[in-house]
Amino acid sequence: MRDRLLLFIAALRDAGLEVSVGETLDAMRAVGAIGIETATFRETLATTLVKDEADRPAFDAVFERCFSLPERERGRGQRRRSVADGEGHGPGQAGTTPPRTPASTHRRDEPRPPASTRQQAKRDRHEEHLDRRGKLARDRALTRMPFREMSTADVEACEALLEILAARFRAHLSRRQRAARVGRLDLRRTLRRSIATGGVPMDPAVRHRRPGPPDLVALCDVSYSVAVASRFLLSLLAPAATFCRRVRLFAFVDQPVEVSLERGDLVPHEAIDWHARSDFGNVLTTFWERNAPLLTRSTILLILGDARNNRRPPRADILRRCHAAVRHVAWLNPDPLARWNTGDSVIAAYTPHCDAVLAATNLHELSAALRQTFRTL
């Protein structure tokens, strides 16, 4: 049995689930505690090995493959029956997860063709489960899907997800701001200190206010290769607007152009030459010439781009000057880490002049990078 469990866990890992050694041990102990009755066996393994409902469909599939060989007959029979009923099961279910083995009792002795209410109810519930689980799994897959592999349909599917992520980001910011607002007497530290002076609180300790709200300046590369990433970044930045004193958004290909976000759509204030070739050096120079006053000590400068400069001069010296002027420079790179500094990528030239260079190849990384950037708030 132990070997079979280990094989099963290996199969789970192959299917992309992260299973730690500790969890493996938990699973073994759990099986030891409860025995291997079919009805509970699956749940026993699930509760110890699957820590996210989004992974459940994958788990179920692997479980079927590893443990239900003798039961295949039964599963097939049941599926045929449900087809004979000719209703209920939605599309997309056929190839994915076989029906969950119901809790044994009323299976064999149930009347078949007239779908009794019980059966119907069970099927309803089953479908509902699949729907919700399927949605969780899909959402997770989308946040982990590299931007460059996204189709137009995927980008559209991200809309709803972006709303959720933006809301989470907003909650994160408000939490931090609330924590920062505290600037009161810290009784505990005051008393600790007072011990040094024989119990007389000579030196009151105060929790200090953190520095005020930042200005946000975002420079987003909207050239073809990374347009999706920029579009998502701007949507996620929308909630940040209320937590910053000033927000200025710029899009660029070879020239920075100020943009605003209106109902999720990018509205450039001047025309953008979408077919130009990326030129980060020129963008930085022009931006510095025109908008240097925007860069103050309370500014967070956010740059999103792959730093693929088409072999033009990178002008990292300009970025150095920007860096000296502002509070924080963060560079988000939608290129996968392995491809940095390959070909015409000059991210290495810019790195010394950034406080953080973060990979943002998918939505998950992008929102994590944003959270990290605003940690300095």
Binding site: G22, I34, T44, T47, T48, D124, E128, R178, G199
Partner: protein, 295 residues
Amino acid sequence: MTSSSELTPALVRQGLERARYLTTPRVETVLYLALALEKPLLIEGPAGAGKTEIGKVLAEILATELVRLQCYEGLDEAKALYEWNYQKQLLRIQADRAQELAWGEVSRHIFSHEYLLERPLLHAVTAPCKIVLLIDEIDKADEQFEAFLLEVLSEFQVSIPELGTVRARHRPAVVLTSNRARELSEALKRRCLYLYLDFPGLEIERDIIRLKIPELSERLRDQVARFVNGLRKLDLRKTPSIAETLDWARALRALQITELDASGIRQTLSLVLKHEEDLRRVDGKIGSLLASSAR
């Protein structure tokens, strides 16, 4: 009190029945495992599916005390673990000074259990018997707090610099609930058993209504359960919880409605749906929902 050695799945099932908590075999299995393996149990799922209730029920099964830690933004160690009672310490210092006690004596006085304010976590660790610790809505707490919690949950010991380490004599049964307001850390998830608690489905919800409001007619019970299940399939801002279903059923009874119809629903729907847009959205669909629930 039940010790873990004599615990069996059947006992858990009976306990759940006695606590009048109806649920699926899946949940029974997981609850049994959490008790048998003495591991924390992390419960996720939609709001109102009965996550918090599990903690309470568990305390009832084990016939023990429930210690509840409600998480919120800005919750810190001082409010979750322990805090020194500074005011009292200050008084003590002044009283001692009047008696001209030596410093060593004073410090021994003021850093003793008498001046310690026990917060839920420390209380759970120092309890004389096995208790149930419910950490509610862990996703609302900050990430730093989660990291700190990890330490307590893995060792069940707390070190207080002035007093030394306090180790739990009985491992508390720990239940954590989360609404997925943010992703929990992998480390926390690894240390817990996991349960995704969904709405129980039509049949069980019907049984729950029967259990809690036995006076309701069978027909109305069936209609209410079906209608609410139909509502949950719609894309609403807030899906109705089980508690709300029960409230609604009680309201219908109080209004002496015996048959669910469109006008009766319109009158009372605000008990189930708490958002204006949800109400407006459902308003047009009452007919079709009713038709499917009359089946």
